[in-house]
């Protein structure tokens, strides 16, 4: 049996209403399935877009914090670091960005967001790039035109979405603290030691800024809307099915049953039967008019039969 034929099983074996119900159910189920599949793609795409947007916003905010520290804070705090006193990391852009990100995380809404500045040869050993981050940095170093990498990353705590940008030693001023221990403030050496975070070159890509944003929540929300949409569509289609059925009943089945009842009656006493439906201008009217004509011919034939009987008897 061809699939189309299977949609209309054994025509004529069941009441029209059932045939229609079966056909409609099949068509609507199929269309819901197709729609859900397509919507899943669309919603997934939207969710990824949303995650990307959030990550980009977070990254840009952190870049602004860095810029603020360089431009506004560093000129005030840097002179304090010249002596051998306590090193004030507040002047360091990397420190302020990571501190602000930490404060943001204290807000439960942003718990799963994170920001990191990872370097191959970091000043603060906390920033030492792990193997995943090293891979990202190496890729940036190989291809200086690459401005952004993003994707999913599996962590022991689940999958997160990350966006990474390269950190380049773009200014000569960075080299004060990152070229040789001799140039760096004594206070910095006492705080971080003199063996790491040095030897950086101008315009070298030394590290990467990585933001990670949660994926799970966004995809869970996507799945929820998908399910809601599917339920709504099913309800709507069920409604359409019921209404179609009612309309069918009202427009076709009832008049047809009525005509059929009258035709039955007319087969016995045609004179008393009146097919009012013939006034209708649709196919039911056509049918009624045919029956009406048949009734009249029947009546005439019966009359003739009667007359002949009268003459003969």
């Amino acid at each position: 049996m061809s699939p189309i034929k299977r949609l209309f099983p054994e025509p004529g074996r069941r009441p029209l209403r059932q045939q229609l119900a079966i056909t409609l159910t099949a068509i609507l189920t199929l269309s819901i399935l197709v729609a859900v599949l397509l919507l899943n793609l669309l919603f997934g795409w939207q969710a990824r877009e949303l995650i990307d947007q959030r990550a980009a916003f977070f990254m840009d905010a952190m870049l602004s914090v860095r810029a603020y520290t360089s431009k506004k804070v560093n000129p005030i705090v840097a002179p304090l670091n010249q002596g051998a006193g306590l090193f004030r990391p507040e002047a360091v852009p990397s420190f302020s960005a990571q501190t602000v990100a930490g404060l943001l995380k204290d807000n439960p809404d942003y718990r799963e967001y994170s920001y990191r500045e990872a370097a191959l040869n970091p000043t603060n050993l906390r920033d030492k790039a792990d193997s995943f981050e090293t891979g990202i940095i190496e890729k940036f170093r190989r291809d200086p035109s690459l401005k952004r990498q993003s994707g999913s990353k599996a962590t022991p705590l689940g999958v997160v979405h990350f966006v990474a940008q390269p950190i380049k030693v773009s200014k000569e001023s960075c080299l004060v603290c990152h070229s040789t221990p001799q140039r760096a403030p004594t206070s910095q050496l006492l705080a971080y030691g003199d063996s790491s975070g040095f030897g950086w070159k101008l315009n070298e890509i030394v590290g990467t800024q990585i933001v990670t944003v949660p994926q799970k929540a966004v995809f869970a929300a996507k799945d929820r809307s998908l399910i809601a949409t599917a339920v709504l569509m099913t309800l709507a289609f069920a409604g359409v099915g019921v209404i179609t059925n009612l309309v069918l009943n009202q427009l076709i089945l009832r008049p047809m049953r009525e005509i059929s009842r009258k035709a039955e009656e007319a087969s016995v006493i045609p004179a008393t039967v009146n097919f009012e439906e013939r006034e209708r201008r649709d196919e039911i009217g056509l049918l009624a008019r045919s029956f009406e004509r048949m009734k009249q011919s029947l009546a005439i034939s019966m009359q003739m039969l009667k007359d002949r009987k009268g003459q003969g008897g």
Partner: protein, 303 residues
């Protein structure tokens, strides 16, 4: 068919595999575990990279992540002074500390508690080292000299030497991150007297011990912040205890061994007393002066 089987297997393993491992996480604020790593010893690091090899650092981070089920931010720190600031501001939820900072952490009111012992027992004592040729024989001779110390936060390199030099005025105080570097400074005549750890052979001719403190330097400890202490931290410690081979050997993590707080008691009082003084700035003159707590027993010492 095969696919259904593997799906079933996956469901089963994910259902059962998750069960025995406790799902409770042990996190600090913000869902992160901020871990400070100073190590068990004081002033022994030649360089920052010496705190931990990279691989050890990643392994440790992974173990801590798995044990705590939080995002771990591991901060190895070379300067006890930086570590001291972190402890003071509550910037760490968990810290691997040497003895001086252990005492300091306990002094933070309501701040930290000790849960495991770190380091190996030795015979470290705080000493003052001078060049023999200088003819300095008693502490009184040190008046007006230049003093070399480890950064604030070190017991044998900062708190004890200052405590033992009470009342003296120095023309300059210099800092270095390691005893080796201090010895170099002494050798190069950049300073006249340095703090020293008696357990380290001083290795060069011509140095002599001018004074030795009587206290045996205790061991370091793994400290937990108060909120973590109040949370259920036993499963976490259990995981560390079981995977002790994943921890860097240099930490000397002792599975299941609680630190002995009484070994620290007197030293805590000394740390608290010195912390109350106005303390020396690098490169500046300084008079060691401040109230000594009445509860502290005699300073002891030879010569």
């Amino acid at each position: 068919m095969n696919r259904w089987l593997s799906l079933l297997a996956l469901l089963l393993t994910s259902a059962c595999g998750g069960a025995p491992r406790s799902d409770v996480s042990l996190c600090g604020p913000g869902g992160r575990l901020r871990v400070g790593l100073v190590g068990a010893q004081e002033g022994q690091l030649e360089s920052a990279a010496g705190v931990l090899a990279d691989r050890e650092q990643f392994r440790l981070r992974e173990l801590l992540t798995v044990a705590s089920r939080c995002e771990v931010q591991l901060e190895p720190v070379v300067s006890p002074e930086q570590a001291r600031l972190r402890l003071k501001s509550g910037g760490w939820d968990l810290a691997f500390l040497p003895p001086g900072l252990t005492a300091f952490a306990l002094e933070q009111n309501g701040g930290y508690g000790l849960v495991r012992q770190l380091g190996r027992r030795g015979n470290s004592k705080s000493q003052l080292l001078v060049k023999a040729s200088r003819g300095l024989t008693s502490r009184a001779d040190l008046r007006g000299q230049r003093l070399g110390l480890l950064p604030r936060g070190s017991l044998s390199g900062f708190y004890l030497p200052l405590f033992n030099l009470h009342g003296l005025r120095f023309s300059e105080v210099q800092y270095a991150l390691s005893f080796a570097r201090l010895r170099e400074m002494l050798n190069d005549d950049k300073v006249d007297v340095i703090a020293w750890d008696g357990a380290i052979p001083h290795g060069m001719e011509g140095f002599e011990v001018l004074h030795e403190d009587s206290h045996l330097i205790p061991l370091g400890a793994l400290a937990l912040s108060q909120p973590l202490l109040q949370a259920d931290h036993q499963p976490f410690l259990h995981q560390l205890d079981e995977n002790v081979t994943q921890l860097p050997r240099s930490l000397g993590y002792a599975s299941g061994v609680l630190p002995e707080p009484y070994a620290l008691q007197e030293l805590r009082a000394i740390v608290a007393a010195v912390e109350g003084w106005s303390l020396p700035q690098g490169g500046q003159a300084y008079t060691v002066y401040g109230a000594k707590s009445a509860t502290i027993a005699g300073q002891g010492g030879k010569r």
